[in-house]
Amino acid sequence: MNALSSEVAETPLPEDAAAPALAVQGLSHSFGTRRALEKVSFVIAQGQFTVLLGQNGAGKTTLFSLVTRLYNNRSGSIKVYGYEVRRRPSQALARIGAVFQQRTLDLDLSVGQNLYYHAALHGIARSVAKKRIRAELKRIGMLERIDDKVRRLSGGQLRRVEIARALIHEPRLLLLDEPTVGLDIGSRQGILDHTRSLVLEEGLGVLWATHLIDEVGPGDHVIVLHEGRVLADGEVAKVVRQAGAADIREAFQKLTEAGNE
């Protein structure tokens, strides 16, 4: 029913407020004969930090591409706050902030110019954009770098700016695809802490894709993705218990080895 009624109205419905941040149901996808995702289903609640754990090639990036509608899903459904991505892409995309695995800032432009460009793509007026850009840059402690060329930033700073950019249109769901790849330990921890604080302060739903097990925190919601299939889904403690393991590292190992057989 939720899907039906949310398709009728332009403005967010009461259901919108109650709907999960992201609900994926029976999602499959293949490239030619290669099956990238196989009947993937999971739900991310509002204000929940979810780690999507999977090795390289597990299907994480494919999942992100489908959720952000780089291409459409052919089977299953993806709903962002109740809005089906394939049918209501505009409503769904307006609620998503995305940080992709590849760097997506324009190196020749300044930090501010990159952020204004993003704001314009979301139809945000310049005066509103200015306030939000300053607020987001301040939050990551980079307000004084607003006029610097992106080329002059370090890897960790680039990532912070990308996260700031993803928040300018005030999304309710933040997607991050391997955001700490190629960063040193200090920057990695900084970005992880920053993202966790967004969940606490803003109540965002976050999907954090990684292959680095030490990025999983004690109270996190974990989804283990392996060769396109969801092997485990739940709170860390539950996943560890179900796998009959001592910690999440061992659980992940057991699950993926069993998945290979």
Binding site: K60, T61, D108, Y117, A120, I124
Partner: protein, 270 residues
């Protein structure tokens, strides 16, 4: 999304293209030097070899320089269209394309904005070129500079749409060399840019038919007539038709449901 938001989106895309353009002065100079070399050297050399008889829209014998100027304007736009296609492939590889495509605006609209931004840059290049050509005795009627504008917009859109269409097929950056060989050169040489088609017909009927079917020929003729304050209806129809066709295919190519990204867009990493 309200109309105001659509306008802001277009403004943002054009603004970014303008910023990039300012940062790539080498690209601008290269785009200007290319047709100037043709005008100053090639045209001077061929002036005596190639006699151009009186053909519409000219009402008198014209210098060869005057004849090839519309062709060189077309060349600027052809290169620009292909270069923006290159920039889209580059954007896609660098991930900037993803920034564009996660916008909540409809995808056809985003691609059209991108196209318009590229066309504005090409038109700027054209006007600088014709201003320099003025001092080289290429002096069309003054009104021609104004009547040329709509023709430039349309031909720019057609060539830009063609580039965008190609960019949805090209996966690798280095394939631009292939675009040069298989698109730019054949389109440019098999057209009325450098020689009137009746001359081509004298030497080869087949080649003449190829040239006459080449959309670039019609873009050049549209510009040539417009530069002399006239309208070539055939050229207009062909260029407008091709613009719609190429743009439709390009939108298809970037369509999330069917397009090439779906089939070829397998991510490099999981």
């Amino acid at each position: 999304m309200s109309p105001v938001q659509y306008v802001r989106c277009l403004g943002g895309i054009v603004w970014r293209e303008a910023l990039r353009f300012l940062h790539q002065r080498e690209r601008f100079i290269a785009a200007l030097v290319r047709p100037l070399v043709w005008l100053f050297i090639f045209a001077a050399g061929f002036r005596s070899v190639l006699g151009v008889s009186i053909i519409p829209p000219y009402d008198t014998y014209v210098l060869y320089e005057v004849y090839i100027t519309p062709g060189l304007i077309g060349m600027i736009q052809l290169f620009n269209g292909m270069q923006s296609s290159l920039s889209m492939v580059y954007d896609r590889e660098m991930g900037n394309m993803r920034t564009l495509l996660v916008s909540p605006m409809p995808r056809w609209y985003l691609l059209s904005c991108k196209l318009l931004a590229g066309v504005s840059v090409s038109i700027l290049q054209v006007y600088v070129f014709v201003a320099i050509a003025w001092f080289w005795d290429v002096q069309p009627p003054l009104i021609g500079y104004l009547t040329m504008l709509p023709a430039l917009i349309l031909s720019g859109l057609m060539l830009g749409a063609l580039g965008m269409l190609l960019s949805s097929f090209i996966k690798q950056l280095e394939n631009f060399a292939g675009v040069m060989n298989f698109v730019i050169f054949p389109m440019f040489f098999a057209s009325s840019a450098l020689y009137p088609l009746w001359r081509v017909q004298e030497s080869s009927l087949l080649l003449y038919q190829i040239c006459a079917a080449n959309p670039f020929t019609h873009a050049v003729e549209l510009i040539r007539f417009a530069l002399h304050g006239q309208l070539n209806l055939t050229a207009l129809a062909v260029v407008a038709g091709c613009t719609v066709l190429f743009m439709g295919l390009a939108i298809y190519g970037y369509d999330p449901a069917r397009g090439l990204i779906t089939r070829r867009g397998a991510p490099a990493a999981g």
